[in-house]
Assembly symmetry: C2
């Protein structure tokens, strides 16, 4: 029956993470596999109050169809916050509200990517981006990332010989590796790309979750005419409301808007209004500080446990923020083999394989630390250490 | 700068309706141009109560990421209602919750349409479908609709000579024409398509809004293996929550789900939960009856006014439900010329042109009756009659 389907849908990798979720329903299994924010930190009471206020203030307007761009009050708030926190001058009219940043990727693919055109993708890279772009059948151009950013020699080679339409990046606390592009790495990327017909996508869902080090300059400041910036309330307020955004230069924005309209008319305004009201009535910086304190503690504990329970030749990144770190097995061990042993030890994670577009057997793996308390982290990393030793035998 | 964009985005028509919205912001203009449900009929108090109940019952779960399929309770409710109202046996596992039915079209395009493949589209047809499918660069195969359904000879010719991947239909109270496919027309369509590699999309957002005549058999009952059924809460509860659904055969469902995941992970569960709670705690049939009574009265009044104020050679459809009717000017008059005169008379509508994929100067036009009270309908149709007489001079 497969012939009935479009060629594009055959190219979309199934989410391995989705499959893993089934295993993680067993309560006795400790999961470092998720990519979820910690539900205990959701500002539930504050959102309830914001919801009541929205009902009081806006009457039936919140139930009607609305504009495709999104709520202007919320877009104004986002623009003001960029100004205040990053010194970025952004016109709220160039902010498009989307169903999470994930939909931003779909709209960018729709608007900019012809079949066979080059899309530079971090290696390892965000699985959701690989899925979203696969729909538009690009040629993926993998570019290695290491602790301080992308492989600049690799980028120069691509820029010299290939026409890359897009370069997709998660420069802060990257998913899956947890690394952050250094200031130097960013500036060299800009030197290589500026003036070329390549748009840089700066996907920044985790940027506010910094628990160590110093903030770096956004690409949107370094190269505004060529940068498409994605943001989201998923990691700092709640993910379930599906409210994210795209900031794009005006001519790109206009086409993204056409794509948004064709895709689903508009994002739910009710949840946009609630988030806006929540932001007005509460101290979001204090809330973010709480999340950062928790995730920072959990990350430090995970790193301490790795030092203690993993063999010394297993390496890991040391994130300055976000929700993930990236381990690497020595020699010829593969993370998929480790996964199968780890399940028996009642601990799971995401093997590295799905984060590559090239179908490798990866020795690396992603560990999530945002959803697990420190005591459970200790137990889980101890179990995982045991599984690694079993695999090494 | 246009060369930077994908070929597909250049194919998407701008929404003329969107442009018209700007004119309709002038309060002195009577608008029959909208496609909105009547906001005065939104069950606002009931939704507020349902929201409070959802907060009480579900705690932080409603704020977290959730599954891509949608809330199973809501899908079960939808399946039960199909059983009860239409005798349809639908497995809730084959219902995918989408951001309104509009997103269903996007996901179907992603999953089934290769560039250049044939998509049969009603002529005139729903603008949102033309936009959604245009992204996937099909070859549109226009098929005329008249009072009792599609042109069967035309469909036979397409089926004999063309490979149509999809046939898109709005068989009940069609947008824009207001017509309903007769029982006979449906059965002949099924005779022509059954066993062929063509999927029929049964887009049915208005089906419950019947104020005259008798319900017809759904394609999902006549040809379940080849039908993809779209539904929505937009016209019977509220549109702003962006909750619709697709019912599809299992192998299609599985691919649609991959496309949904790649597009935006999942539809907001919070609004799904609220709608489900609203449906549990209230008599939705009584609510629909209220809407039907109002729209029926408004439609009858509009038809009576047309008889009274329009020249006798202007024809119109006589809808049995829904939100729209379709007028037609005699001779060589075009509805775009009428629009320009009508704006000066302070009344607007949607000219027929954007509902065709073939770029014609249409003599027809769409009138919406759901959003305008009966007195205003009288005034507006009188003004429009005056504009028609001015045009005929």
């Amino acid at each position: 029956m497969n012939t009935i389907f479009s060629d594009r849908i055959a190219d979309v990798p199934r989410s391995f993470i989705r499959e893993i979720l089934k295993v993680s329903l067993d309560r006795s299994v400790i999961s470092f596999a998720g990519g979820l924010p910690n539900r205990d930190l959701f500002p539930a009471e504050e959102i309830k109050r914001a919801t009541s206020r929205v009902f009081e203030l806006y009457g039936n307007d919140i139930f009607q169809y609305s504009n495709s761009e999104g709520d202007l009050k919320l877009r104004q708030y986002i623009a003001n916050r960029y100004k205040e926190k990053k010194g970025l001058e952004i016109n709220p009219e160039h902010i498009l509200i989307t169903n999470g940043a994930q939909q931003g990727l779909d709209l960018i693919g729709k608007t900019l990517v012809n079949e066979g055109e080059g899309v530079i993708i971090e290696e390892p890279g965000y699985l959701g981006a690989i899925q979203a772009f696969s729909i538009f059948r690009p040629r993926f151009l993998p570019l290695a990332v290491s602790e301080d950013g992308v492989d600049l020699a690799g980028l120069k080679a691509i820029a010299a010989s290939e026409k890359a339409k897009l370069m997709y990046t998660v420069p802060n606390f990257q998913n899956p590796s947890g690394i952050t592009y250094s200031e130097q790495n960013r500036r060299e990327i800009v030197d290589i790309l500026a003036g070329k017909n390549t748009f840089l996508i700066e996907d920044d869902p985790y940027g506010e979750l910094r628990f160590a080090g110093t903030p770096k300059t956004p690409f949107a400041a370094l190269m505004p005419a060529q940068t498409i910036l994605l943001g989201s309330f998923s990691k700092i307020v709640v993910p379930g409301f599906r409210v994210g955004w795209i900031v794009a230069p005006e001519h790109i924005f206009n086409k993204l808007l056409v794509a948004k309209q064709a895709s689903d008319l508009h994002t739910c305004h009710f949840t946009q209004y609630i988030i806006h009201q929540y932001l007005l009535d509460n101290d979001i910086d204090a809330h973010i500080a709480k999340i950062v304190a928790a995730y920072g503690g959990q990350c430090r504990r995970m790193l301490a446990c790795i030092d203690r329970y993993f063999p010394a030749d297993v390496s890991s990144t040391r994130p300055e923020g976000g929700m993930f770190l990236w381990g690497r097995l020595p020699g010829t061990m593969t993370s998929l083999d480790l996964f199968n042993l780890a399940v028996k030890e009642k601990v799971i994670f995401v093997p590295g394989d799905p984060f590559y577009t090239t179908g490798i057997k990866s020795p690396a793996f992603r560990l999530n630390f945002s959803c697990v308390d420190e005591t459970t982290i200790e137990t889980g990393i101890e179990r995982l250490g045991k599984a690694i030793r079993l695999l090494a035998k």
